[in-house]
């Protein structure tokens, strides 16, 4: 099926998520869509799959016919199906029921007939499924296959894949790619959204790059990885003056640590981090860096290995034990995990301090809050409820909650959504604070510039693989971008810190 997107606009409040996007995809093509987080990829795909509607003025044309899609169910009727990053299926159900759910037909279910369809389709595509087993017994990769099968059965002629290779094994990736490569023969169009350069290069026969809501480049093979990276991340990047770290004693030490969740697995990690050092964690979302930082906070227990903080063995200890030793963790989901909606800034600052007696000294709290609000440049008053603050101000409020003593600061996306000036300001604050307390800092960011500018050393994560620490002054955006995309990974030992 031939897909044309004409002049697609989508505005959320004041910001454009999509701005005048024109893209034409011939029938049977495998179209790659590249872009960093927030470039507008998912908005565009949500529009194409009927989840949201574009602002007026644009048009979606399928096989020459303009269509209006009010819902995902509409989209599938027009032949457009989407696989979401988190599969939208029903884990507690049987495979067959999950397959049948939403399928048009008679009032009463005919499971026998459906099972025949199911098995026939599974055979055709070489998937090995028992319709009577349960969805939650499958891996993410298998759940994708299940969803592909369902959409094929519903007559999908355009498939949108959103980061499909995140969290699936290499074998399943091969299988997925085999399936996708069989699509052109059936004139099925594939749209492959990813920021994994390697996957895009291997699979796609054309690539479009989005940046800040706009389509900034279209490519056909042969691809130049360098070109992708510079188009994705924009302007030539100039590194500012870097401050080499004055490092002290080892603060955090991970010895042969194994970590595991449902999606990724990290094997035998060894790292030492010194006081005064800033470690940046680079990688696509879900590559294992989130798990790593939570393990450093004591929120995730390693399945093997040992964690030492200032020489003390904290392996398997509770979050409170880590906190007592001066570990401070500030999560990315501000209103879900970091802040307390319904409480004021004043309340937050008081809660983050050690209690001084039974009663709260309001005057002291007020002074404290005013001072913090000023020094962290928060637009609000001590009585402001945190949910009423803007995103950037919430971020600064969270940073202002760092407790004493401080030996290790763990941050997820500390400056996401902030403008350059705020970013510089916050980093100077953070660096001062760490220097003052002799603390080490570890942060996750998807902003390569930020990672290069403020880290002393970098750890790159890719599908659970962790690089040796990389000296930030000895690398550049290109190399980092490739590593993040899974390209140019050396054999162990090639990079030396």
């Amino acid at each position: 099926m031939n897909v044309e997107l004409k002049n697609i606009h989508k505005r959320f409040g004041k910001t454009y998520a999509n701005k005048g996007i024109n893209l034409s995809i011939p029938s049977g093509a495998i179209q790659g869509i590249l872009g960093e987080n927030g470039a507008g990829k998912s908005t565009l795909m949500k529009i194409l799959s009927g989840f949201i509607q574009a602002d007026s003025g644009g048009e979606i044309v399928l096989d020459g016919k303009p269509v209006v899609m009010q819902s995902p169910a509409d989209a599938i009727r027009f032949g457009v199906g989407m696989l979401h990053q988190d599969p939208l299926d029903f884990p507690p159900m049987k495979l067959l029921d999950n397959f049948l759910l939403g399928m048009p037909g008679k009032l009463f279910l005919n499971r026998k007939e459906a099972a025949q369809d199911f098995n026939r389709l599974a055979n055709e595509y070489g998937f090995n499924f028992d319709p009577e087993s349960y969805v939650d017994s499958l891996t993410v990769g298998e759940r994708q296959q299940l969803e592909i099968m369902r959409l094929l059965f519903l007559g999908a002629r355009v498939f949108i894949f959103d980061e499909p290779t995140t969290g699936i094994s290499a074998a399943q990736k091969t299988k997925l790619f085999d399936t996708l490569q069989s699509f052109p023969k059936q004139a099925i169009t594939t749209i492959f959204v990813s920021h994994k350069l390697e996957d895009v290069e291997r699979l796609c026969d054309r690539v479009a790059v989005l940046r800040a809501g706009e389509l900034v480049g279209e490519f056909t093979p042969p691809y130049e990885t360098k070109k992708f990276v510079s188009t994705m991340f924009g302007k030539e990047i100039t590194l500012g003056e870097r401050q080499p770290a004055k490092t002290g004693d080892v603060v955090l030490s991970l010895k042969n640590v194994f970590l595991e969740d449902t999606r990724v697995r990290i094997d035998g990690l060894n790292v030492n981090i010194r006081a005064g050092e800033v470690i940046g964690l680079a990688g696509l979302e879900g590559s294992g860096q989130g798990m790593f930082i939570r393990a450093c906070a004591g929120l995730v227990r390693p399945v093997g290995g040992k964690i030492f903080l200032k020489g003390k063995n904290l392996t398997g200890k509770s979050y409170y034990a880590f906190k007592r030793e001066g570990v401070n963790f500030l999560p990315a989901a501000r209103l879900e995990e970091g802040l307390l909606p319904g409480l004021s800034l004043l309340d937050h600052f008081i809660l983050a301090e050690k209690p001084r007696g039974v009663f709260i000294d309001k005057a002291y709290g007020q002074r404290l809050a005013e001072e913090r609000i000023k020094s962290f440049n928060i637009r609000g008053t001590p009585a402001s409820m945190v949910e009423s603050l803007s995103g950037g101000n919430q971020q600064r409020a969270e940073l202002a909650l760092l407790q004493t003593p401080l030996s290790l600061v763990l941050l997820e996306h500390p400056t996401r959504g902030l403008d350059i000036e705020s970013m510089i300001y916050i980093w100077s604050k953070l660096k001062d604070r760490c220097k003052q307390d002799g603390a080490a800092l570890i942060f996750i960011s998807s902003d390569l510039e930020e990672l290069l500018q403020y880290s002393d050393r970098l750890l790159v994560f890719f599908s659970g693989k962790v690089s040796e620490p990389i000296d930030a002054s000895g690398t550049n955006v290109e190399q980092l971008g490739q590593l993040i995309g899974g390209k140019g990974w050396p054999q162990k030992g090639d990079i030396h810190a």
Binding site: P331, E337, G338, L340, L343, V358, I360
Partner: protein
């Protein structure tokens, strides 16, 4: 405008008027005059000193329970088991009083002990709901409801079993306790100044806990966002449990006062529904301690004011319950409408 205090007030006023209108319609449908009903309720509650004293008798347990519930609501918990906690408070109180019948201990001391015992019984009962939630994964609403039934069973067992009245056991309760075990009353009015003072002190304490202490702030933090509270270093399940203990203790005092100041024995319906009513008061004041006392007083006045309705107008006294419920219902609904407007604006 919708977000301001005045805006909120307008919506609450609208809710009040709607509720009155709705109940008036119900009254009209039954052929009664709403105006006369309201007049009778007013006269029945504040028409005389004696009647107002009755209002205060009802106000005391209601306020104590509401005060406790403000703590559990702050911790994000629906302590529906508060009914049973009142009952256990009463049982704990009667149990101590029975031990000291015919003893040489000064009665004042015995009464004090019995109230303390009620407090402990109530707190322990509340902690059961808390532990069912923390360690058993049973939602506090269902654990609490179940425990309410158990407390009723326990009361009946005591009344018809070990504590049964000389001769024949009956639903009228256990043998009345000696007069010396009654809290002193104001002249011939039924209200005990001590009970009233305890209730007022309790709500004041709760107000200060929630407004001015680290403990209260942590409770609120747990209620607002348990995940973030945990990351901030607050031991979350312990604080949930503390809030259950405090609420149970206050409900236990309410139960003990029902014994020492009102009934002077254990009766099957010793909690008189004050637990559920307290939940309604807490919802109506939007979980703000400042308004707890006036609204509890209003609800108590409705309760007492409706007692005479069956005699005066052949109307069932449950009219007060209808009025209270409809009021809370409309406040919830108008608040929902207001939030919808705020979001749209």
């Amino acid at each position: 405008m919708l977000k301001t205090k005045a805006g909120r007030f307008i919506f609450q006023l609208a809710a009040f008027l709607l509720a009155m209108g709705f109940v008036s319609l119900i009254l009209l449908a039954t052929g009664a005059s709403p105006l006369e009903a309201y007049k009778n309720m007013l006269a029945g509650s504040v028409g005389s000193m004696r009647k107002f004293a009755e209002v205060l008798v009802s106000f005391v347990p209601l306020l104590l329970v509401t005060a406790g519930l403000l703590i559990t609501f702050s911790a994000g918990l629906w302590n529906i088991g508060v009914e049973g906690q009142i009952v256990l408070g009463a049982i704990g109180s009667v149990w101590v009083l029975r031990q000291f019948v015919d003893s040489a201990m000064p009665p004042a001391m015995v009464i004090l002990l019995s109230i303390l015992s009620g407090m402990v019984f109530g707190a322990v009962w509340a902690s059961l709901a808390g532990m069912l939630k923390t360690f058993g994964g049973v939602n506090e609403i269902f654990g609490g409801l179940g425990l309410n039934f158990v407390s009723t069973a326990l009361t009946l067992y005591l009344i018809f079993g070990p504590w049964k009245r000389e001769g024949v056991a009956s639903m009228s309760g256990t043998e009345p306790l000696p007069d010396v075990f009654s809290l002193p009353q104001i002249s011939d009015l039924r209200i005990s100044p001590y009970a009233l003072a305890m209730a007022l002190v309790a709500v004041a304490i709760v107000y200060f806990i929630l407004q001015g202490t680290y403990f209260g702030l942590k409770i609120k933090a747990v209620g607002r966002n348990i995940r973030a509270a945990y990351l901030l270093g607050i031991p979350t399940w312990q604080y949930s449990l503390y809030s259950f203990l405090i609420c149970g203790a206050l409900a236990g005092v309410a139960g003990a006062l029902q014994v020492t100041a009102v009934y002077h024995r254990l009766i099957p319906s010793i909690s008189s529904g004050y637990g559920y009513l307290g939940l309604m008061v807490a919802m109506l004041v939007n979980y703000q301690a400042v308004w707890a006392a006036p609204v509890a007083l209003f609800f108590a006045a409705l309760n007492i004011g409706s007692i005479q309705l069956p005699i005066l107008m052949k109307l069932d006294s449950s009219l007060s319950g209808v009025l209270q419920g409809v009021l809370v219902l409309f406040v919830l609904l108008t608040e929902g409408v207001r939030q919808r407007f705020v979001k749209k604006a």
